[in-house]
Point group: C2
C-alpha cells in the first residue's frame, strides 16, 4: 500500500514517519501551558522549537511574533513557484491545556509514551500533533511532486493563546494584516468522526458565557425570623433558570432563534449517515450521562452541532457546607453559557439575556448580569463550497473510503479568522473525539495523523486547479 | 414605683437587681459553646456554675446531669410548702451560640459590658439572661411573700444542647421521667414583641431541613461536547425548586396544607393589633430585604407565625469560582428547609417532599433526598388556656399595661417537651427580637429582664389559684 504508485504522497509520508514522530515527541516534552504564568517561559521555548524546526525543514520565511501582549505565535511562509498560485494560511496553536488532575495521568504528561498505535502526552492531539502533521505534509508534498516549492503559497500561523481563549487574536490579525493575507484558511484544530469514519468538519458553535446574580437583602436571614414573608433570591433564581427552557427544551430568550440557520437536507442526511451508538456516546462523550435529552425533532448530532443550547454551568447560593443552616440567602448566582450556531451573534444573545433577566426579576430582588468577554461567534461553511469539496476529496484519497461532512459542538476562533481575513475557512484535522484533549492521558492515534498529513499533501497538489479565485 | 405597696414583687426585684446582674455577668464569662467540641469543658463549667448558684440561693435539690451522651444539663427542685400545690417545670438552656464572625463584635464576646440599660455579651439574651431571670424571680417571690418555699413546686431543667438542636433531649426526658413530672412547663427561651409592647408568646413553628441532589452523569462534561443533548442536573433542580411554590407562593408538596390549622379570629385580631413598621421590620428582622412578599391573604406576622414556609437555604452545582467553565455539571444540590405550623408533623412533610421530588425528577436524572435528623415539630397553645391567661395577667402586673398574645416564627423543643411530659406548655420570656441572638453583639435589655422576673414572681404567687389540675 505504502508503495502504491497512485499515491506517491503516501509513500513519502511513510518514509518520513519516523523522523516526524521523533520531532513531535521532542516538542511534546515542552510544557507550553499558556494559561499558567509559571509556564510562560515554556510557551516561548515551544515557539522557538517550532521556528527552528521550520527553518530546518527549509521554510524560507520564519518569524516568532513575540512582541506582546500575546504569548508568542509562530509565522512562516513558503511561496509557491507559480506566483499565480493561491495562498493558503494554516492555523493551529502550540500552547497546551493544564494537566490537572495530574495524579490521574498514567505517565508524566510531558514525557510522551507510545502505546500500540497511540502516542500519549499533553498536546499530542490538541494541537501540536496536528501542527506537526502539517509540517510533515509539506515535506511529503515536495517529495511526492519532486518540486522544491509547494503548489500553493503556504503560510503557517500557530498561535500561543488558543487555550486561553485567544484574547489577542484580533490584535495579532490587525498587526500582521499584510503577512496573513490569503485566499483560504485551513484550520487544523479539529478532527474526524471516528477511527473508521473519516469526516470533514464544516463548523463550530459559538459561545457566550455569563453570570446572573439575584440580590435580596444585605445579609442572610434566619428563616425563623422572616421565612414566608420576604423574597428568597435562590427561589427567584431557580424560577428564572426554570423559565430559560420550555417543556420541549427550547430556549426562551426573546428572539433567540430568529437568526438560527436550519441545516440543509444534505447536511442532515450526512449527519444521519454517521454511525451513532447511543450508549457509547453517553459513556465517552457525555460524561456518563444516563440518557440523551433535548429539542424534539433533532438527532443527537444535530442537537450538539447545528442547534444552540443554554447550559447552567454553576449554581451557588447561601450555605453549601455540611449539614444545614436555615437561612434565607442574601443572594444567588447562576453561571450560564450559550452555545450558538450561525447566524447568531454573541452580542445579540447578550442583549436577549439581559432582557430575559429583566423580565424574570421579581419585586424585591435586584439583578446583576455580567459576561465573560464578548463571546466567540459560531462558524460554518457549506459542504458545497469548492474548497471544502477539495478537502473532502483529499481525505478520500488518503483514507481510501467515502468521506462525509460533519460539524463540531465546541467553539474556536474560526469565525474570527474568517471574518478578519475575509476568505473561506475549511477544517483539516485527524484527531478523534475521544482523544481526551483537556483531560488526563491525552493521546493521538498515529496512523490517523499520517493519513491527515497525506490528505494535506494531496490538498496542496490539488488546490490550484480546484480553487477559483 | 419600686416601693408600690401593691407590687411587693417589684420592690423585691429592685432590691436584688445588683446582685442578679453581678451573677449573670460572671456566668456570661464562661464560653459554653455547645456546638464546638473545643468548648465542651466550658459547657461543663457553665453547668457547674449554675448548680453552685442554685445551691447558694437555697434550692434544696440540685443536680448536674452529666452522664452522657448529652452535654450536661442542670436540674433543680424546690418543693412548695403545700404538698397539693401544682408543679411547674421551667425549661431553659445554658449553652450559647458560636461567636463567628468574631471581628464584628465591638467587645470580646465573653467579657460582658454594660451600655446604657443594655448588657452585651454572648448568651446575655439567649438564654443565660432569661435563666438567671428565673433564679431572680424565685428569690423575689420568696422575699415578696415572706415565705421560705415557693407557692408552686418549682423544677428547673436547663439543658446544654439547645443550640445543637437538642439531640439528646428525648433521651434526657426518658431517663429522668420521674424527676421531670409536672403540671405545667414554662419555656423561657422566648421574648416579647418589642420594648413598648409586651406580649405572651403562644407558639413556635417547627422545622424540617433536608437536601436534594440531582445526579446526571458521573463527570462534568464540556458543554461543547454534549450541550443540548443530555439533561443538565442544575436546570432540572432549578425546575424542581421553581415548582416548589405556585405563583402565589403556596407550597406544592402533595397534602402539605392538609394539617395546617388556621389561626382563630381572636389570634388574627391580636396579631393585627401589634405595631408593625414595614421598613423597620425589613431592616431589623429581615436582613435588609428590599420588600415583603408572601402568601396572599396573610399579614407579615401571620406569614412568619402561623403559616408554613419552604425556603431554599443553599444551592450548589458545577463551577462556582471566578470566571467561567463551560461545563454541564454532573450533579446539583439544594438545601431546603420547611417551617411548620400546627398540626403539621415533620415526618409527614418528609414523606411529602420525597413524593414531590419523585414527581419532579426527569428522565436521565437520579435523585437523592436526605434529611437532617427528624425535624422539630411545631407547637402552639390557645390564648384561652387558663395557664396562658395567668402568664398574660402576670405580665400585665409587671408591665402595667395590656398584654397581647403573639407567636414566634423560629423553632424550639417546646413540642417535644409538651408531648413527652403530657402537660400544657406556656412561654415566659423578656427578650427582644432585635437582641442579635446568634449574631455579633448579642445584648439584653436589663429593665425587661427585671420585669420578666417580676412577672414570674407574680406567676408563682398566682398559679395555685389559677391552675385547675
Ligand atoms: Zn485546541
Ligand atoms: Zn436559645
Amino acid at each position: 500500500m505504502a508503495g502504491d504508485s497512485h499515491h506517491p504522497e503516501r509513500s513519502a509520508v511513510a518514509a518520513l514517519a519516523e523522523e516526524f514522530l521523533a520531532g513531535l515527541r521532542e516538542w511534546l516534552t515542552i510544557p507550553s501551558i499558556g494559561v499558567d504564568p509559571a509556564h510562560h517561559a515554556d510557551v516561548h521555548r515551544s515557539a522557538q522549537w517550532l521556528a527552528d524546526r521550520l527553518r530546518a525543514d527549509g521554510w524560507p520565511e520564519v518569524e516568532v511574533w513575540d512582541h506582546g501582549p500575546a504569548l508568542p505565535a509562530v509565522y512562516a511562509c513558503w511561496p509557491a513557484a507559480d506566483p499565480g498560485a493561491p495562498t493558503v494560511l494554516v492555523y493551529g496553536h502550540h500552547d497546551v491545556q493544564p494537566v490537572d488532575p495530574v495524579d490521574r495521568w498514567h505517565h508524566p504528561p510531558f514525557e510522551p509514551v507510545t502505546s500500540g498505535d497511540e502516542l500519549l502526552g499533553r498536546g499530542a492531539s490538541d494541537d501540536k500533533g496536528q501542527v506537526a502533521m502539517h509540517l510533515l505534509a509539506v515535506k511529503a508534498h515536495l517529495a511526492a511532486t519532486g518540486r522544491n516549492a509547494p503548489g500553493v503559497t503556504l503560510k503557517l500561523f500557530i498561535e500561543g493563546e488558543e487555550e486561553s481563549g485567544s484574547p489577542h487574536l484580533r490584535k495579532l490579525l490587525e498587526d500582521h494584516r499584510d503577512d496573513l493575507g490569503c485566499d483560504l484558511v485551513v484550520f487544523t484544530d479539529t478532527g474526524v468522526h471516528d477511527r473508521d469514519t473519516p469526516t470533514v468538519n464544516t463548523g463550530q458553535r459559538g459561545v457566550l458565557g455569563g453570570e446572573i446574580t439575584f440580590f435580596g437583602g444585605t445579609d442572610d436571614v434566619h428563616s425563623g425570623r422572616a421565612g414566608g414573608a420576604i423574597p428568597n433570591p435562590a427561589t427567584a433564581l431557580a424560577r428564572l433558570v426554570a423559565a430559560l427552557h420550555d417543556e420541549d427544551g427550547r430556549i426562551q430568550l426573546p428572539g433567540f432563534y430568529d437568526d438560527v440557520r436550519e441545516p440543509t437536507e444534505r447536511e442532515r442526511a450526512d449527519y444521519a449517515a454517521l454511525p451513532f451508538d447511543e450508549r457509547r456516546w453517553l459513556a465517552q462523550n457525555a460524561g456518563g450521562a444516563q440518557a440523551v435529552a433535548g429539542e424534539p425533532g433533532y438527532t443527537t448530532f444535530e442537537r450538539i452541532w447545528v442547534r444552540p443550547t443554554a447550559e447552567v454551568n454553576g449554581l451557588s447560593s447561601g450555605y453549601t457546607g455540611p449539614g444545614l443552616k436555615t437561612i434565607i440567602p442574601a443572594s444567588a448566582t447562576a453561571k450560564i453559557s450559550f452555545r450558538l450556531v450561525p447566524d447568531q451573534l454573541p452580542e445579540n444573545v447578550a442583549g436577549q439575556l439581559r432582557e430575559f433577566v429583566a423580565q424574570h426579576t421579581p419585586d424585591g430582588i435586584r439583578a446583576e448580569v455580567s459576561f465573560r468577554g464578548t463571546g466567540v461567534p459560531p462558524y460554518a461553511i457549506s459542504p458545497d463550497d469548492p474548497a471544502n469539496e477539495a478537502v473532502r476529496d483529499a481525505l478520500e484519497l488518503a483514507f481510501d473510503q467515502p468521506v462525509r461532512f460533519a460539524r463540531a459542538g465546541g467553539s474556536g476562533p474560526a469565525a474570527v479568522l474568517q471574518a478578519w481575513l475575509g476568505v473561506p475557512l475549511v477544517y483539516l484535522g485527524a484527531t478523534l473525539p475521544d482523544d481526551r484533549v483537556h483531560a488526563p492521558n491525552e493521546r493521538v492515534v498515529v496512523p490517523l495523523l499520517l493519513k491527515g498529513a497525506e490528505a494535506a499533501a494531496h490538498l496542496w497538489r490539488m488546490l490550484p486547479e480546484r480553487l477559483t479565485r
